[in-house]
């Protein structure tokens, strides 16, 4: 659908960043097409945030090059800034101002034409369901409302690329799904490109393509489907009359290693669907039931980074809880 000659929304070439001796990003290359929802995954400390910061012109690269919306992130910093929307993990709203005042401030800073401010504000606030609350002070908003307001604000100046850093972290499932609703709506109505990080694997499934970053490098980049296929093996679980004999037979006849877990024999095999008939025909041990599961993105993440996304998510959630506790304490003080 996208014209091959069109400039990609984001183009990154051997981008690197060092902090002293530490190489946070070690030469990454990728392109994001216009209109794509691009997921950026990786354990904490993998270099994701540093990469995003370089794309958003907040951090200067140590080497390599990147263009966003067709503009170089170093040479045309302001051009890049005018064409991107940013929704950070940490809140960046002014709690003492109303929702509308926060958006107006953003519009003024980004030079949105005066005549466009009011209609655009209404549109983005209606999209995130906060139009009725536009005059409410942001301090009185819940976490979900604030995140929605941040997204609305990031859209005020009609950015070509919207960066969302963990847009749904810490939110209830209902708010999470409504945020995904906005993202799809945006894709349809504004031809916007979305570059996002997330820790939720079920959400990563919604992305058109996913890059997994680890130790400062991109270790995998493809559609969720292709990434799962690349893991290769499906997982087959069988219940048999004689587990010991079954494990032995699987090893002898198919050269596969099986284990017993939770009362069933389980093993991994490529093209599981085609394998099941052979299994019945050749195993020689009666099978009572069989189940086959496709690899999940969790398996993908695990196979590329050696850690589960849940571990990564947990440590980040802990930091977050600590931070918000500090913020609360300060607000009261």
């Amino acid at each position: 659908m996208t014209d091959a000659a069109a400039t990609p929304a984001i183009s990154v070439k051997s981008l690197r960043k060092s902090f002293g001796d530490f190489e946070a990003v070690r030469g990454v290359d990728f392109e994001v097409e216009t209109g794509e929802v691009f997921g950026f995954l990786g354990p904490n400390g993998a270099g994701k945030t540093t990469t995003i910061n370089m794309l958003c012109t907040l951090t200067k690269p140590s080497g390599g090059a990147a263009t966003v919306a067709g503009h170089d992130v170093v040479a045309a910093r302001d051009e890049v800034r005018r064409h991107i929307g940013l929704v950070f993990q940490d809140p960046t709203l002014d709690g003492y101002l109303s929702a509308a005042q926060n958006l107006r401030l953003h519009a003024e800073l980004y030079g949105v034409p005066k005549a466009a401010v009011a209609p655009r504000m209404r549109q983005v606030l209606e999209m995130v369901g906060l139009w009725e609350r536009r005059d409410g002070q942001v301090l009185t908003f819940s976490g979900g409302m604030r995140r929605r307001l941040e997204i609305a604000r990031g859209l005020m100046h009609s950015p070509r690329v919207l960066f969302l850093d963990e847009p749904t972290i810490g939110l209830d499932p209902q708010t999470r799904s409504s945020i995904w609703g906005y993202i799809r709506q945006l894709q349809e109505s504004e031809e916007i490109t979305i570059f996002m990080t997330t820790h939720y694997m079920d959400e990563a499934e919604f992305c058109g393509r996913i890059a997994i970053m680890d130790h400062g490098e991109i270790v995998a980049l493809d559609t969720p489907e292709a990434l799962k296929e690349a893991v290769g093996a499906d997982r087959i679980r069988i219940e048999t009359d004689d587990d010991g004999a079954a494990i032995e037979a699987i090893g002898e006849r198919f050269g596969l290693e099986a284990t017993v877990s939770e009362g069933a024999v389980s093993f991994a095999v490529p093209d599981g669907e085609e394998f099941v008939p052979r299994l019945f025909a050749e195993l020689g041990v009666p099978i009572r039931s069989v189940s086959l599961s496709r690899p999940t993105l969790d398996d993908v993440f695990m196979s590329h980074t050696g850690t589960t996304i849940r571990d990564a998510e947990e440590s980040s959630a802990k930091n977050r809880a600590k931070m918000s506790a500090q913020m609360m304490a300060r607000t009261r003080a």
């Binding site: 302001d78 064409h83 950070f88 003492y96 800073l109 980004y110 655009r120 504004e190």
Partner: protein, 290 residues
């Protein structure tokens, strides 16, 4: 729902024009305006920052009057320290305005301003002008009190005092923003400001005439930038009073550098120049900030 669909279909596409001096001006204006909104919302701050000047003026002024009546040539002590208190009232408000940069950083809002496609200098200038305006409002309340300390109202007095207060508030905010660029914790920031502002106030001659001081105090007094705001303020207020020449000479002797009397205009310019210098440093610091 149909309503929402209709608005979505009819997307309000915004085209942001290229950067120009006009967009920078809009940025300065909105950052300035935000200071005003926040100040207007924060009534507690308006009241609390009045307490200290009022204490100095009425409690210290009235109390020490009993000791000092002989040496003030018939001038009420409250009248004498009034110009100093006019300076003091804007100092504290300006300091709090600058502190909001540190808060903004802690609450993340600074980031919203820093990633905007405008010059950092526009943000810093907006902030300093905002601090100056807010402090100017605070100063107006102190100007209203003039008759209570024996100073009659007049147009030139009110305009002159207000202009001097704006200038001083601007310089102090610029100083605060310069400090806030480096100090990222609110406790440390407040500590540094207290450490600087209180001695500056006491050394400035806000509470005493600057002649016949002990040598070390005279030196510190001449080095204190606030001296150059207090002296013009006092000259301005005294010009509207009917004072004996002996009282004028004793209480408002003027600042001297090695025996040379510094003209009022040069004092005012000194405050302005210092303010601009600190503003320039603040801008430089924020530009280098990432």
């Amino acid at each position: 729902m149909s309503d929402a669909v209709a608005t979505t279909a009819d997307v309000v596409r915004v085209h942001v024009p290229a950067r120009s001096w006009r967009s920078e001006l809009r940025a300065v204006k909105i950052v300035w305006y935000r200071e005003l909104i926040r100040f207007a919302n924060d009534r507690v701050r308006i009241v609390t920052s009045l307490v200290q000047p009022l204490l100095f003026l009425f409690v210290l002024g009235a109390g020490l009057q009993q000791l000092s009546s002989a040496s003030t040539d018939g001038v009420n002590l409250k009248t004498f320290i009034y110009p100093g208190v006019l300076c003091m009232s804007v100092m504290f408000t300006a300091m709090f305005s600058a502190a909001s940069i540190v808060w903004d950083r802690e609450y993340g809002f600074l980031r919203e301003m820093m990633v905007a496609p405008v010059r950092r200098s526009s943000i810093v200038v907006g902030k300093c002008l905002g601090g100056a305006t807010v402090a100017g409002f605070q100063g107006l309340i102190m100007i209203v009190l003039a008759p209570a300390v024996g100073v009659p109202y007049s147009v030139t007095l009110v305009l002159g005092v207000f202009a001097l207060q704006l200038l001083l508030a601007f310089a102090i905010t610029a100083f605060g923003v310069m400090v806030a660029a480096r100090i990222t914790q609110i406790q440390s920031f407040m500590g540094v400001m207290q450490l600087v502002v209180m001695p500056m106030f006491f050394l400035s001659g806000a509470l005493f005439p600057v002649t016949n001081l002990p040598g070390w105090l005279a030196v510190l007094n001449r080095l204190d930038p606030l001296t150059y705001a207090v002296e013009p303020m006092r000259s301005l207020v005294f010009a509207h009073l009917d004072l004996s020449s002996s009282a004028e000479a004793a209480l408002n002797p003027g600042i001297t550098w090695f025996g040379w009397t510094v003209p009022v205009a040069l004092s005012v310019f000194t405050v302005f120049a210092l303010g601009m210098t600190m503003l320039a440093i603040a801008i430089w610091e924020f530009n280098a900030g990432d």
